[in-house]
Symmetry: C2
Subunit: 336 residues, 2 copies
């Protein structure tokens, strides 16, 4: 239903409908009521104007993530939902998998459910090619769109990101300066955030005149929770003749596999072998010794994301991109 | 919008609208089209009749869970969403926390979003008191309602459960017959499923004339992922003079804390100390030795739940309650 239909059904001009939607005071209460009655009766799809009037808003935010069984994404969803509830907003979540078409379909589904905003959780929603990001730009033409740990510069899109490049750069430098030079980079994602982490490792290795090539970059393709398969991946590297005494992992799960590998090899951790994880998840306490890991301040990111979204919905000017620093949490798997 | 409004707007009798909604063949195509046009135009809220005609169904299922950051619930959601997608259904998820009011609000929210069915994931949605379950009964009056690992006997409610009592009963008997007699039961939930597990442990202990009292039942109240806090809980038991050489845990996380406890105490696992976990999650591979755990066949449960729901939506008679057996997966933390 368009503004023209409303004007026709209410028996008033389009200009009058527009004035009502914009909250103008120059419309009589009687005319205003006539227009609002039509809008309410025919469930006019909310737009920014109608929402500003508190019309038809369900106070519901749509959340989309690729995979709720991923520890990091699950934790992000937990924080986001908690903070939305604290702001009297409901949330509905769609989990899409990693396929672009499914992501675009979920965005459209949430818009038909009349959400007031959409949050894309995790860095795998933004692609290299502009054409592949059109679904995000299109959605943002209808509702505010928030990106957690990804960035895209387009109207009505707000990005909250962790500085993964710097975190990984500094952690790699620390491991090198503790005397480890043959460090495998073990990763399982080439998302926006995945690329930044890899670039941080490379920058540190190159700065120290160490090769970040010759098989040290190890991409793991299997299930994100199959630690035995990850361990076999590292064991195979060794069988192929690669000598390495450190692992920097893009995720705590991969780092746990490195702990298992080191034990199978009979290395002492951290004397003979150093390991760094990422996300500072519950897994850091699961192994022995406990895992050094990068805390990327997920709760702070989520809090800031919700604050920004609430500001946008209130009609305030909010920052388009905010970057937070991570922190290395030292435990037993690295020498300091 | 009611059937009266449709009749008025379509210019046909209420009886005719009813015949169209019931799929009667005694209505002309022209009249049928007139009625359907009105229904489509004014977004008539779907009811069982309209859904049967494929009218206005969004092919969307609502899912509710208490906490998507719980490993077990997250995995269940993952399976359910995957299997819904395979059946060309979308899903939207609400995470409620453990508060009854929030659960009831989420059910209502999903119904306003016009879902075709609702799935309650996990056993904490069903309470002891009938009055506290009224929100579930009320929702089932509107859409089919599926319970994963909980049971409630009321119209339009379907329960898919794992036989947690028998799994825990058999696992406890096995640990006792391997020679461990002072077994702590370490748990963090008194949900439907939590009570069954506890009852299984007690039944086995009593059958073997062992006391299941005197401090052996240990309820942990803290964060479900704070393994250090769980470890301190066990250490405190020891400090209070309780002697125990086995832990049966209601969850793998609690079992991992028992592994840490045994190591801190200098016990050899499983020679001096036996540990059993529950859920057979990714955590079983995280510790050394790896964790013996009960696989409660979550994927099978989820598959059966979706098959049942699809049958119900197709108008078939489906079983109201289905029970699956679990299986003990032996690894390094128990003697066999």
């Amino acid at each position: 239903m368009t503004i023209y239909d409303i004007s026709e059904k209410a028996g008033v001009s389009i200009a009058t409908v527009s004035r009502v939607l914009n909250g103008s005071s120059s419309v009589s209460e009687k005319t205003k009521k006539k227009v609002l009655d039509v809008i309410n009766r025919y469930e006019y799809t909310p737009n920014a104007f109608a929402r500003g009037l508190g019309l038809n808003t369900m106070k519901t935010i749509g959340i989309i993530c690729a995979d709720s069984s991923d520890l990091y994404l699950a934790k992000a969803i937990y924080y986001i939902e908690q903070k939305l509830r604290a702001n009297d907003y409901d949330s509905i979540l769609c989990c899409t998998g990693y396929d672009l078409d499914a992501k675009a379909a979920a965005v459209n589904l949430l818009i038909t459910k009349k959400v007031d905003g959409i949050i894309l959780v995790g860095s795998n929603f933004i692609y290299e090619e502009d054409a592949d990001n059109q679904y995000v730009v299109d959605a943002a033409a209808q509702v505010p769109l928030m990106l957690l740990n990804a960035a895209l510069d387009a109207p009505n899109i707000y990005s909250i990101i962790s500085d993964d490049f710097t975190s990984m750069y500094e952690a790699t430098l620390q491991m090198i300066s503790a005397g480890v030079r043959d460090i495998v980079y073990f990763y399982n994602s080439v998302s926006y955030s995945g690329k930044k982490k890899l670039a941080g490792y490379r920058a540190a290795m190159e700065e120290q005149k160490l090769s970040a090539e010759s098989g040290l970059l190890q991409f793991y393709q299997g299930s994100h929770e199959d630690i035995p398969a990850m361990t076999r991946h590292l064991m195979k590297l060794h069988d192929q003749g690669l000598n390495f005494h450190g692992v920097i992992a893009s995720d705590d799960t991969l780092a746990l596999a490195a702990v298992k590998y080191a034990k199978l090899m009979g290395y002492s951790i951290p004397q003979d072998f150093s390991i760094l994880g990422y996300n500072n998840s519950m897994l850091v306490n699961c192994c022995d010794p406990e895992l050094t890991s990068i805390d990327n301040k997920l709760e702070t990111l989520c809090q800031h994301l919700i604050t920004t979204l609430m500001g946008v919905l209130d009609g305030n000017e909010m920052p388009k991109k905010t970057v937070f620093s991570g922190e290395i949490i030292h435990r037993g798997t690295t020498r300091n």
